[in-house]
């Protein structure tokens, strides 16, 4: 029933289905060749082109850096717009590196490469033998075949999409329907709350599965990304994750009076979950107690299992505990949701 009503809301349907696909297409196309974003450096032209300038440029290109050669004025303008991460300028007989403190990760890596290039260039000019470099190999952590950026992105998009759907759309819709009194009429029927909520979760689950299927299909047709693991494992993980985060959304919606209030509450939960779950940075430097606590959050084990199956073709062995954590959170959240749910 819900599903039928939902299908009639064409605009909502289009965006829920199309948005992740568009994201995938967008990022996938930008970073199509090679592993992730390429490092680039701005090279300020010397007044007089000297032999060591030529050697450095050659070495930079050999090291696969994207070099952008600009005049001093052009480079200055670009720098002040904040678009430059790292810039090599002539300084007396040698060079000077200018790094953008806002883009340190990128700038730092670039600086390393530039220095390496300069060592190479000096060696070549003095006729010394080519310095030996330690060979680098790019691999995904599961030791399977290294894949491109889009295939790294896809499970992340699936997971993120599902979390945001659970926390933001589901809970928000729930609160706003309650605000508009759409549930009041149900309150005078003998329908138990838990059946109503379970129905809502199942309804959303079907939407998510369809959404995931579309995303995987597009990934396969456009970028040739294969699901490396078994589809039944994937389905199991997705179902657990969806159930868990939907229940989260419903539970939180029981704490908000208005949709504005809900926006605040869901952000309060979403951001710590996101930041602490190792999506953006690892927590190796954090205190031990924090790491232990974080290990109990549901997002990280969910994403790990999803990536392991999808990208590395791993089985579920070794993810049992993680998935159990996800399921436990889901169940607890559902109980809380039933307890807190109000019709009006």
């Amino acid at each position: 029933m819900e599903w039928r009503l939902y299908a009639r809301d064409r605009v909502a349907m289009f965006w829920t289905m199309a948005f992740p696909v568009l994201l995938l297409l967008g990022f996938g196309t930008i970073f199509r060749d090679g592993g992730g974003p390429k490092l680039s450096v701005v090279r300020v032209q010397s007044a007089v082109q000297s032999p060591h300038d030529a050697a450095l440029d050659q070495a930079l290109t050999d090291l696969q850096l994207k070099v952008q050669t600009l005049t001093k004025a052009e480079a200055e303008a670009r720098w002040s717009r904040g678009e430059t991460a790292a810039q090599v300028e002539p300084d007396g007989e040698g060079y000077r590196l200018r790094l953008n403190s806002y883009l340190m990760a990128q700038a730092g890596a670039t600086a390393g490469l530039v220095n390496q290039a300069w060592l190479m260039a000096q060696a070549r000019m003095s006729g010394a033998p080519e310095p030996q470099r330690i060979p680098v190999q790019v691999e995904s952590p599961g030791h399977k075949r290294s894949t491109n950026y889009a295939s790294f992105l896809l499970p992340g998009l699936l997971g993120l999409n599902l979390v945001s759907m659970g926390l933001f759309s589901v809970g928000m819709v729930n609160v706003s329907y309650r605000e508009k009194g759409k549930f009041r009429r149900l309150a005078v029927t003998p329908l138990p709350k838990w059946i109503f909520l379970l129905g809502q979760v199942l309804h959303r689950l079907t939407i998510t599965v369809v959404q995931a299927a579309i995303l995987i299909l597009v990934g396969r047709l456009v970028f040739g990304i294969q699901n490396q693991g078994s589809f039944s494992h994937l389905l199991l993980i997705m179902t657990l994750g969806t159930g868990c985060f939907m229940a989260f959304g419903f539970a939180l919606s029981g704490f908000a009076e208005t949709s504005e209030g809900y926006a605040a509450i869901s952000n309060l939960v979403f951001f710590p979950l996101m930041l602490l779950s190792g999506v953006y940075f690892t927590l190796d430097a954090a205190p031990a107690w924090l790491q232990h606590t974080v290990a109990l959050l549901p997002l990280a084990p969910f994403l790990r299992a999803l990536r392991a199956v999808f990208n590395d073709g791993a089985g579920l062995a070794g993810h049992g505990l993680g998935l159990a954590i996800v399921a436990a959170w889901g169940f607890a959240a559902f109980l809380l949701a039933v307890r807190r749910f109000r019709w009006s």
Binding site: M1, G181, P190
Partner: protein, 306 residues
Amino acid sequence: MPAPALRIRGLRKAFPKVVAVDGVDLEVARGEVFGLLGPNGAGKTTTLEIIEGLTSADAGSIEILGLTWEQQGQEIRSRIGVQLQSTSLFNKITPREALDLYGSYYPKRRGTQELLDLVQLEEKADAYHVTLSGGQQQRLALAMALVNDPELVFLDEPTTGLDPQARRSLWDVVRRMKGEGRTVVLTTHYMDEAEALCDRLAIMDHGKVIATGTPASLISELAIPSVVELTFEGAAPEPAAFAARLGQAVERRADLWEIPTPDPKTLLPRLLEAAEAAVVPFQQVHVRRATLEDVFLHRTGRSLRE
């Protein structure tokens, strides 16, 4: 003898700023159409929502079909039908789907087609809810209240905001409910509706029941069964001087004076004489029977619509 359809004792509900229901006692017999009449804010809807289990009371006891919410909540829910003051449905649901859906929540249900016939919505059965007129939406809400074949039906202002024709057709549905042997409890602030539909009435004001009885008995209990009206073109003038000359209370409404009297026959000649002497520029004279409006006015000193 079965328990009454509804028995309420000492019901009280206070909100932070106002006491909405202040010690209400009611008893409704089976098969009766019972009306709660009163102006907006009299506490009718709050009373109804407490009975329906939507709002909790601060004090008092409620027995519905001999059952209590504490003991048999689910059974009460499956045996009553409810129409809320505003039934907010999903925009793109059709009447047929809504009846199927809500019917599926109950152990006992009436056929969707039968309900659509009853409220004359066959033609709109497959139209989206947003495209229905106000009257059609209200009729659907009424059909939804009957979906579980309830013994007791609650209707909260079923005709508010409808045009006269839509109101009549809704009244027909309520009469049919009574014909089927159901007990109906409705709220309204239209006295004509209360007179036309209800077997018995409770008049509410400021959270209290100020009178109970059949419409006829409420009117005949008034010492003044008739009202003489003088209508004016435009606003009615200040009647104080004229009232003194006549030796009778005169009340001013927007464009008329009302003079309640137990004996219009002897009042009329005196009235016309006095009006001529005072050069009162009235247009017409009407004599009418007192209505529930006058009962309310008499009991509270205020008009129902104020």
